[in-house]
Symmetry: C2
Subunit: 109 residues, 2 copies
């Protein structure tokens, strides 16, 4: 199993972020990770929008989020611990991520 790829902050792109967050499943995953106060396993998000996601699809979604620089993943025993890179992204891109998440949240209602 090849090691997980995390881009350095300087390599994170707006294009990558927008692409990653143009999928509602990934938005929901990211929002869940941000809301939680401790790192979350992937399996926590198998059920999204009343639908069971196949494991391979879920794994792909995490890969996209990871390679866009939105989350950080560390092996902890048998599972992965996913945490947000919110702070780094805010430092580099200002209010971008906040605006996106707020807009999605506002849309829900």
């Amino acid at each position: 199993m090849r090691p997980l790829i995390h881009p350095p902050v300087e390599a994170i792109t707006v294009e990558g972020i927008l692409h990653a967050l143009s999928d509602p499943v990934r938005v929901q995953i990211l929002a869940g990770i941000i809301k939680a106060e401790c790192p979350q396993s992937c399996a926590k998000f198998q059920m999204v929008k009343n639908r069971e996601l196949p494991k391979s699809t879920l794994s792909q979604h995490f890969k996209v989020l990871r390679e866009a620089g939105l989350i950080r993943c560390e092996r902890k025993g048998v599972e992965l611990h996913n945490s947000t890179r919110y702070a780094e992204i805010r430092e580099r891109f200002g209010p971008l991520l906040t605006a996106i998440l707020d807009a999605y949240a506002a849309e829900q209602r």
Copy 2:
């Protein structure tokens, strides 16, 4: 030729906006339309990033922007006049669009 589709503001989605703007060509087109003080024809954007875009591709990009609710297109004689829906979107989604465009602009440097 079927009529051009413009979603009503209420039908505009964050997902659609992010998808449309996750392509740098479309971002450049939108930025150009916003910057100009009068409506722009599609042909104005045939040259993007030192590259000649095929007409059919350009047309697709405009369609995506239009159906995401980001621009409005009106026939004016033989050409289309494209203008931004910035104001409507800000009304509905707050700083989202501004944050995206700013982030792209900041990334350029």
